[in-house]
């Protein structure tokens, strides 16, 4: 029986096919789904902040785009994934309120997305699809078996990317 694994905010988990993995209500945070298509080893990270090096209190690696991606890949490799085969899909990074213009919060969603892309590029992990930005929340479900990334939002049709 396959089950659905739940990932919380500032959290990441491994998911091996045929199981699936979900995180609920992504706002300015970014959901990063990784998968090795050959082995069906995947995982999902729900990161909150772009860069661990900018924050003193950075013990929780799952909180940041840079360290979160590294940690998830490490766990996937332990489970049999090969880094050169890993592909990514990302969602989230919305701006929930119009005026988040305080200096350290300005465009945090967008910066989360940018930093995620930068880190993935650095690691040569291709981004196959993304649904990012705008101003609404997203619940995502990821199926490492076939790479389907389902996105649900309030008052909008379900999207598959």
């Amino acid at each position: 029986m396959s089950k659905m694994i739940k990932v919380g905010m500032a959290d990441l988990k491994l998911c091996i096919s045929p199981d699936s993995i979900t995180t609920l209500g992504l706002g300015s945070c970014v959901g990063i789904a990784l998968r090795d298509p050959k082995t069906g080893v995947g995982g999902l990270a729900h990161i909150m902040l772009p860069d661990s090096t900018k924050i003193r209190n950075n013990a929780n690696v799952a909180k940041f785009a840079d360290t979160g991606i590294m940690e998830l890949i490490k766990q996937m490799e332990k489970a049999g994934a090969v880094k050169s085969r890993i592909v990514a899909k990302i969602a989230g990074g919305a701006q929930m309120f119009a005026f988040q213009n305080k200096s350290d919060m300005a465009g945090i969603g967008q910066r989360n997305v940018e930093c995620t892309k930068l880190k993935l590029k650095e690691l040569r992990i291709p981004i196959l699809a993304e649904d990012t930005g705008l101003n609404y929340g997203r619940t995502v479900e990821f199926y490492p078996e076939n790479g389907d990334f389902i996105i649900k939002s309030v008052g909008k049709p379900i999207k598959k990317i």
Partner: protein
């Protein structure tokens, strides 16, 4: 080095923040009752220091649709504040204020949105007023902004601000009842220096 560390919160500090939450929420409830001309009973607010992954759950699930009112705070303390309530409760409050039922539960009209913003303005304003008069600190709130979406998505905003400081979020849950039960949540997000100022102003 700031005195307050949210991840290893001292009991005394936590009690003080709790008490501030109680007083603020009490003041906000009184204003609400006056504005809507109804008798509102309030239960003792619950103040909790939660891990990020626990907040959504504490509010009844990350996917629950809620109305979030968010504003920035300037003056002697800086930071931001959020007031959240379930969309259903928001509809009840709006219909009370406007004296007629909400036209469409799923899509508030512009007028209703504006009314909801005003409710948020008054609730958060009176909360901050209580805090200000208690501490003698100047607190200037910005005009609030409103967002209706999944609890998790709205919460990502204050969570990220707390995330810059640590791994916990301070949540104040307040329940008021008239005919139906209305639940509201306050999240006050002063930066760490402001926590020190608040405690300092109270002689801690």
């Amino acid at each position: 080095m700031p005195k307050v560390d949210l991840d290893n919160m001292d009991n005394i500090y936590f009690d003080v923040l709790k008490e501030l939450g109680n007083i603020g929420a009490g003041n906000a409830t009184t204003s609400l009752s006056q504005m809507l001309q109804i008798k509102v009973d309030m239960k003792v607010p619950k103040v909790e220091l939660l891990n990020f992954h626990e907040v959504g759950e504490a509010m009844g699930g990350e996917e629950l649709v809620m109305a979030g009112i968010y504003l920035l705070v300037e003056g002697d303390i800086t930071g931001s504040m959020m007031f959240l309530l379930q969309k259903k409760s928001a509809g009840v409050l709006v219909s009370r204020l406007m004296g007629m039922p909400v036209s469409d539960e799923d899509n508030f009209s512009e007028m209703e949105i504006s009314a909801l913003k005003e409710i948020g303005n008054i609730i958060t304003g009176s909360y901050l007023n209580a805090l200000s008069s208690l501490t003698n600190l100047k607190i200037f709130p910005s005009i609030p902004d409103l967002c209706i979406d999944m609890a998790g998505a709205i919460l990502s905003v204050p969570a990220i601000e707390f995330g810059i400081m640590g791994d916990k979020i301070l949540l104040i849950e307040t329940a008021f009842t008239d005919d139906s039960e209305l639940n509201g949540y306050f999240i006050l997000i002063p930066d760490l220096q402001s926590y020190d100022k608040i405690l300092g102003a109270l002689g801690m």
